[in-house]
Symmetry: C2
Subunit: 173 residues, 2 copies
């Protein structure tokens, strides 16, 4: 199926000049949600992955299903102040301001093979900070996986030394 047809485009949100790609309509569509998750699973099922890292909060949706299907653990990367145990932090610039991400310092082990999952890659600040967090813990980023990529925003510049996979793209953003 054409997954992009299940995504709602919202011009002018959260700020003027941006077309926001709303993946909640994809998640609500049983076939589109299943197909997105299955594409990730088929791609990684024989790659001997140790952990899935999901980015707060829509990355939790796709990342948790992938971890479950692979039979491995799920690790959340969260906005500052949300994780209760000892964390390490990374600040970054994103499309609409600045932010800080955290991961629990014992969430990954050295040499763990990790897939990082988020719903969308836009300008790439969030994924760039997440890659740094994972590597600070000594784990290996095998690939960064997204449902949607906005290639015109060149988010890959923040993760040039990573493999990147996106299921689909919106051009002209």
């Amino acid at each position: 199926m054409d997954l992009k047809k299940t995504i709602r485009s919202i011009p002018g949100w959260p700020i003027e000049g941006v077309i926001f790609r709303d993946l909640t309509t994809l998640m609500q569509d049983p076939e589109a949600f299943r197909e997105s998750c299955d594409i990730f699973y088929e791609r990684y099922k024989n790659k001997d992955i140790d952990k899935i890292v999901g980015i707060d909060a829509r990355g939790f949706v796709f990342g948790a299903v992938l971890a479950y299907k692979l039979g491995i653990g799920f690790v959340p990367v969260r906005k500052k102040g949300k994780l209760p145990y000892k964390t390490i932090q990374e600040s970054y610039s994103l499309e609409y301001g600045d932010d800080t991400l955290e991961i629990h310092e014992d969430a990954l082990e050295k040499d763990d093979k990790v897939i990082i999952v988020d719903d969308l890659i836009a300008t790439g600040g969030t994924i760039g900070a997440t890659v740094k967090l994972v590597r600070k813990l000594g784990a290996v980023v095998m690939e960064c996986a997204f449902v949607i990529e906005l290639p015109d925003l060149n988010g890959r510049q923040h993760i040039e030394d990573c493999d990147v996979f996106s299921i689909s793209e919106f051009e002209g953003d």
Copy 2:
């Protein structure tokens, strides 16, 4: 397995006098994560459920897996300002302050049979507001499902007219 043994207890977080139950350690444990998700799936697989509603943000982890396994759509309830389309809102008091939750106004259809999923029920403010949001859209709350319940905080008082299921409990909180 004893799921509770995989949960980390953090005294004094986010405020003094509280013991925070940190389910990230359960999610990171492949067996505990799988078993939690499977318990939910076995409970609801023959109940003709239409949608899973997951509460921002840890409810996304367990709710998304349940929706995927049931082959139905996943609907996020989010903190104010996070959902890009038209929403309805509910404010509530929670253990450590006030907050407002939102759901997209077209996320559920009238008479949809819904399970609401979160990781934990404590004082119950969050789930109380979520039940109201789901009902405002005309959908039917079949059950509220949690991995962990803290019965001493009597969260069920906010959802007395709902069926409630929790996999496990921590008493003495």
